[in-house]
């Protein structure tokens, strides 16, 4: 489904990715682990074409994502759900509106929005927060809201970039369980983290990165 072909990313005085080759098959749950600055986030940004590689190519199915024109890039992003460490919710929109916005982006009707949003908020246990703004919610709740937004359009891929980085162990556990459940339903999940406990509780394929390189991939070491 996703194919990184000898991808490198160099900044002025730093190397974010160094000749990375990685394949993710549809339906997989891949955890990318590494210290801060190992290149995990750069790797996920490449899939969204939020960063351009200095060398190499990134394919989403048969599409070279960095060759996409604006409209096609918008369409590609609509097929991917993203969860960030700092949630990246829209602060001036309520929980309901945050999710409705993602649905509006893909052209869902008002009726679909009205019926699906309460449903997904119930899934992440936020029914009571429908009309609250992100600023009025706890970190765990905000992250659950971000996950609800990521899955509302039934994406083919979920990218969760350090989703538990700002959460306590109880909330971390909840988020990991939600992501596993999403994966069980058939969605591919790429999770980045520096937390060993998270990797252990997921128990799926682990790719270890260090200084921009993949130094270990459990898929090949099995």
């Amino acid at each position: 489904m996703i194919y990184f072909n000898n991808v490198s990313k160099f900044y002025k005085d730093a190397t974010a990715l160094d000749n990375v080759t990685l394949t993710v098959v549809a339906g997989e749950f891949v955890s990318i682990v590494g210290h801060s600055g190992a290149g995990k986030t750069t790797l996920t940004k490449m899939i969204l074409a939020d960063e351009n590689p200095t060398e190499g190519t990134v394919f989403f199915e048969s599409i070279n994502v960095h060759n996409l024109k604006n409209n096609d890039l918008t369409k590609l992003r609509q097929r991917i759900g993203v969860v960030f460490q700092d949630f990246k919710l829209l602060p001036n929109k309520t929980a309901y509106e945050n999710i409705a916005f993602a649905m509006e982006a893909v052209g869902k009707t008002d009726e679909e929005i009205a019926s699906d949003v309460p449903h997904v908020l119930e899934l992440v246990d936020l029914s009571h927060r429908l009309q609250h703004f992100p600023g009025q919610m706890s970190g765990g709740e905000q992250q659950r809201l971000a996950i609800a937004r990521a899955i509302i359009n039934q994406p083919e891929l979920i990218i969760a970039d350090e989703p538990t980085g700002n959460l306590d162990p109880i909330n971390t556990h909840e988020i990991v369980q939600i992501l596993k459940k999403i994966n069980d339903l058939g969605t591919t999940v790429i999770l980045t983290t520096h937390n060993r406990a998270v990797i252990d509780s997921v128990g799926k394929r682990v790719v270890t990165m260090e200084r921009g390189k993949i130094i270990r991939d459990s898929k090949h070491n099995k």
Partner: protein, 306 residues
């Protein structure tokens, strides 16, 4: 498409109301800009009114010799009227000139007595010529001097033309008027440019606050128009509210000027404001909306690269 537009408009209104102080600040700055524009519109009106009045005071008078035949004078008047530079020519006959003279000097007994003593009318008829532009008086005067076929034979009946006496004053006035118009235009241009830059920067700041949001919207898969649209609608709202605020502010301001400064300005600003209200409203509203929409459009563009 219609749903998209409806959502964009709705989002613009919601963003505006939730913007609180930021929205208020933006409206305030647009109001200041529109006030500058309105002020300039009124200032131009005063300037042009004064200049027109001054221009109207300038004329050239052709005095004819005593007893010059009226037919010839009328013939000259007609040929003068044919000149493209001439706006108007008024004929004052010798009798009328005398009547006006008596009227003007009715308290000056010795002059009136001297006039009665002469018995006959010592005054000649005259033509009062008004040009369309002050700069054209010279060519009219030259036309009279020249041996043009139209004025052939007129020379013998012309006593004097007062242009040459007034030339210095006319030239100076001409220079002052041209300078005032140029200066007025420059000040207008400069003020408007400054106002636009200030407004643009304020709106840019309001959007700078939302730059991360713009990035998130794009990552969630929103189209550029879906991200940019609500900001542009907000720009329209700034423009409309600021227009009404400006027009309401200028109501009492022009009323004050109309009551207290009409003699000084030569123009009742309140009357001007109310009689040209629709035009001013159209200028201010279109400036406000254009300013808001365009500033938003440009400011968002910076964060829409991806």
């Amino acid at each position: 498409m219609m749903t998209e537009l409806k959502r964009i408009i709705k989002a613009g209104f919601i963003n505006f109301t939730r913007g609180g102080l930021v929205s208020f600040a933006a409206v305030l700055v647009v109001t200041i800009t529109l006030s500058v524009i309105t002020f300039i519109v009124l200032l131009q009106a005063v300037l042009y009114f004064s200049l027109d009045q001054i221009k109207d005071k300038v004329d050239v008078t052709i005095y004819f010799t005593v007893g010059a035949p009226e037919v010839k004078i009328i013939l000259l008047k007609d040929s003068l009227l044919k000149l493209p530079e001439v706006k108007d020519v008024t004929y004052t006959s010798a009798e009328e000139a005398l009547k006006l003279f008596r009227e003007r000097h009715k308290n000056d007994y010795s002059t009136i007595a001297a006039l009665d003593e002469i018995g006959t009318n010592p005054l000649g008829a005259y033509l009062n010529v008004k040009a369309k532009e002050i700069s054209q008086y010279e060519s009219i005067a030259n036309f009279m001097k020249g041996d043009n076929a139209l004025v052939l034979g007129a020379e013998s009946i012309i006593d004097k033309i007062n242009y040459h006496q007034n030339k210095l004053v006319i030239d100076r006035l001409n220079a002052i008027i041209a300078g005032a118009q140029k200066l007025g235009f420059l000040i207008t241009l400069l003020s408007i440019v400054i106002a636009i830059i200030i407004t643009f920067n304020t709106i840019r700041l309001t959007i700078f606050v939302a730059r991360e949001e713009i990035g998130v919207m794009r990552l969630v898969g929103a189209s550029k128009m879906r991200v940019r649209g609500p900001f542009m609608i907000e720009g329209v709202i700034y423009g409309i509210i600021a227009t009404f605020a400006t027009l309401i502010l200028f109501w009492p301001a022009t009323a004050y000027f109309g009551r207290n400064m009409t003699d000084f300005l030569g123009l009742n600003l309140y009357d001007y404001y109310t009689s040209n209200f629709l035009q001013i409203f159209a200028i201010i509203l279109s400036s406000g909306i254009l300013l808001g929409v365009f500033s938003s459009f440009l400011a968002v563009r910076k964060y829409l690269n991806k």
